[in-house]
Subunit: 272 residues, 2 copies
């Protein structure tokens, strides 16, 4: 890995900025180009073929136009349905968010029973269940469609959000018990959920480990793309963000996800 | 108006089925073709030019392929930004949801001060404020982004939804008071909100009139497209529904909006 490699990070929206945040902590000397394909979200309701085309075009923009030497697919839907298509479309190493989340669950779980919360689209793809199965884990997945809008409303510490999460968690724990499972880990399978981590950690049963796919992906990127750069180069502090449609919401909400200003967001056109 | 005219109803998603439901009550002898452009939603985050193109293509499908003799645009964003483009694209009378909502507010409000709740995109367009202004009304608009996902989660009578609505309403009433307004009407400026009407009517101050844009639009359609058909023809009971992407969610949730089964939803392709 060179001193200041360019890492491309791709999401259908701006939730993937939580993955970029985790990457910045672990590989601070890299330069980053982030693309949110905001014009064509949500990917979750589209066909696999369409998602593969969108994701490949986005990956090509990051590699060809922004010089990315590594790609992180910070989008659960694209990771689930389009990783192969992206790898075919660009000549650089590609990392999705799902495998690292599953690998982290295997490393942490004692019982081998794991809960996964995610969006409806991610749950319907059963990508986490499949990835966990190859790790020898049993999983129970649950769609929590209210959590993304609650995060986007900024209610990350709100009593309403705590109540909504409690309802989802109760349903999940009840179903796990009915299935004879003894879950000790909860995977946050959506890039918005790290913003709810403090609230979620307060709500889960004592001893349950909360696994953040964004953190797990950044750790995997460090292993795959190179070593921790603290000693070999100073932090590059260079982030360029791009979106394919109105950048206003991206600029307004993005800094909460990145935990620093996103700065100017460039508007690009990838076609229909 | 002939005995059993074909009325085309268009929305970016399936929320507009509440408008179709209201139309069925008032013009029961018509035949209906409903199109949800689900592949390309949400319209709210897209540019005016893109929305105009999508809406015109959708309108042409309803007129050319389905024989619609009248069109109802049951989509706030398309009504706000693309009514002219649709009228240019098809040779039939076209009715949006915003003007009827504003006209109904004028008919009901005594004080002339009106509150409007809607999605972020509709509020940012200020289409209701503009339509109300031409009716001589003062308006205060508020985006309530959590209400659509709460409706889609099926929590239309849930304590969490009541609490979320109470928070939004308190903010709205406080801001109205600060502006020296005396609002006596609340316009439901989103096609999902009629499902919350019982909950909303319980929450608003005594004497405040809740105005449902879907109902107002159906009343306007009756005046514009023809007379109440009770005596002149038997109910046609004919509804054909179409969507541009995965029809599963449409079929699963649509019946709640329509208050009857939506039946088979045809999948059509309008392009990228």
């Amino acid at each position: 890995m060179n001193q200041n490699p360019v890492i491309g990070v791709f999401d259908s929206g701006f939730g993937g900025l939580t993955v970029l945040r985790a990457l910045l902590h672990r590989i601070p000397h890299a330069r980053y180009a982030f693309l949110g394909d905001t014009a064509r979200l949500p990917y979750g309701s589209k066909s696999r073929r369409t998602i593969a085309r969108y994701a490949a075009e986005s990956a090509q923009f990051l590699v060809r136009e922004q010089g990315a030497e590594y790609l992180v697919i910070a989008c659960n839907t694209a990771s689930a349905l389009a990783l192969d298509a992206i790898e075919e479309a660009v000549p650089v190493p590609v990392l999705g968010v799902i495998e690292p989340g599953a690998a982290s669950a295997r490393a942490r779980s004692q019982t081998g029973d794991v809960l996964v919360i995610a969006t409806d689209a991610t749950v319907q793809s059963h990508a986490y269940a499949a990835a966990c199965r190859t790790q020898g884990l049993r999983t129970l997945e649950k769609a929590c469609p209210l959590l993304v809008p609650l995060v986007e409303e900024g209610w990350t510490q709100h009593a309403v959000t705590a109540e909504v999460f409690r309802i989802y968690l109760d349903e999940l724990l009840r179903e796990a018990a009915e299935n004879g499972m003894a879950p000790d880990s909860l995977v946050l399978g959506c890039t918005h959920y790290p913003l709810l981590r403090p609230l979620i950690e307060k709500a889960v049963p004592a001893g349950m480990c909360v696994i953040d796919s964004a953190e797990a992906t950044a750790e995997a990127a460090m292993r795959l793309f190179g070593q921790r750069g603290e000693d070999c180069a100073r932090p590059s502090d260079q982030i360029r963000c791009f979106a394919t449609d109105s950048v206003e919401k991206f600029e307004r909400l993005g800094s909460r996800f990145l935990e620093r200003p996103v700065g100017h967001v460039g508007l690009i056109d990838l076609g229909g």
